[in-house]
């Protein structure tokens, strides 16, 4: 299994992501360029990563312009064929704008850019990115965003809940739900109904090495890499 990390103009977490996937995880990983109209040699076993950053300067809306970049048309067909796609932070915003994930990410409730470590409660283990955790486990990851308040259209929330699509919710260290950004239902990360597209605002790639003081994000990449779901 290999990873392709898409670089948009304004991506700034691409190298961190490549370091974690390549050097920490030991996976095969390459950069993909936003202007490319296709990527060769990928099967649905492989994974496309949309990293964090400020693609196109967040002009118009975060992710709105990147969503129409040439490579995203290939990413959308890859996802529709069952290929794995994960978007972190700006990558999550791009996935929502593209319609691969439901909902949208709007300005934080208090109109502030929030950059801090937050606690997340693992809401389901039935996904390739959360199967390495325990349900209800509290983990810590940094967030760094101004547009991270998750919203859905009418009925959207019920669909997410019904299909067990909420991966992470913001919480206190004790596990009580609480979000800094005002997200609907404290949602921090979701997957699509088919469970091959994942999006989250927190940064697991900044929490995957002991030298950085936090390895809570590593289990996410490990289970994704192994392609293993928990035995039920």
């Amino acid at each position: 299994m290999k990873f392709g990390v898409v670089v948009f103009p304004g991506s700034n977490c691409d190298d961190d992501m490549i370091h974690v996937l390549g050097s920490v995880l030991g996976a095969e990983v390459e950069k993909l360029w936003h202007k490319d109209t296709q990527f060769e040699g990928y099967t649905p076993e492989d994974c496309i990563v949309l990293p964090g950053g400020f693609s196109y300067g967040d002009y118009l809306r975060a992710g709105a312009i990147a969503r129409y970049s040439p490579i995203m048309q290939a990413v959308i067909s890859f996802a529709n064929q069952g290929g794995k796609v994960i978007g972190i932070c700006n990558g999550f915003q791009i996935l929502c704008e593209s319609g691969l994930l439901p909902g949208a990410l709007v300005r934080n409730e208090h109109h502030k850019f929030i950059s801090k470590n937050v606690c997340l409660r693992v809401e389901t283990t039935d996904s390739l990115v959360t199967s390495g955790y325990q349900k209800g486990q509290i983990i810590k990851m940094p967030i760094a965003h101004a547009e991270g308040r998750y919203v859905t259209n009418e009925g959207g929330l019920a669909v997410l809940q019904k299909n067990d699509q909420v991966l992470f919710r913001y919480s206190t260290p004790e596990g009580a739900l609480f979000s800094e950004n005002g997200s609907t239902d404290n949602i921090a990360g979701i997957c699509n109904k088919e469970r091959n597209v994942f999006g989250m605002m927190p940064h697991p790639e900044r929490a995957s090495e002991a030298i950085l003081g936090n390895t809570d994000g590593l289990a996410l990449f490990q289970s994704l890499y192994k392609g293993e779901l928990q035995a039920t």
């Binding site: 709105a64 129409y68 929502c96 909902g103 949208a104 409730e109 109109h111 919203v151 259209n153 005002g182």
Partner: protein
Amino acid sequence: MKFKAEINVMPLKELLDPQGKTVARNMDHVGISGIEDVRIGKRIEIALDAPDEKAAEALVDQACKKFLANMIMESYSFEIKSA
């Protein structure tokens, strides 16, 4: 024919607009009272070429739906004028 489209993109009424709320709350500091609510959106001006006004309207509507507004968080309205 040349047209000009004046587009307003606004955050949906049912969504909290933190920018508008902050501006509203600070009107008192400016010495302006009586402001009950502020909502802040975007105004976009587009110059375009289309066979007639109806075609121009269809084109701008498509641009709004596909790109300029995100219907999950925003609504839009526009006016077409001859340029």
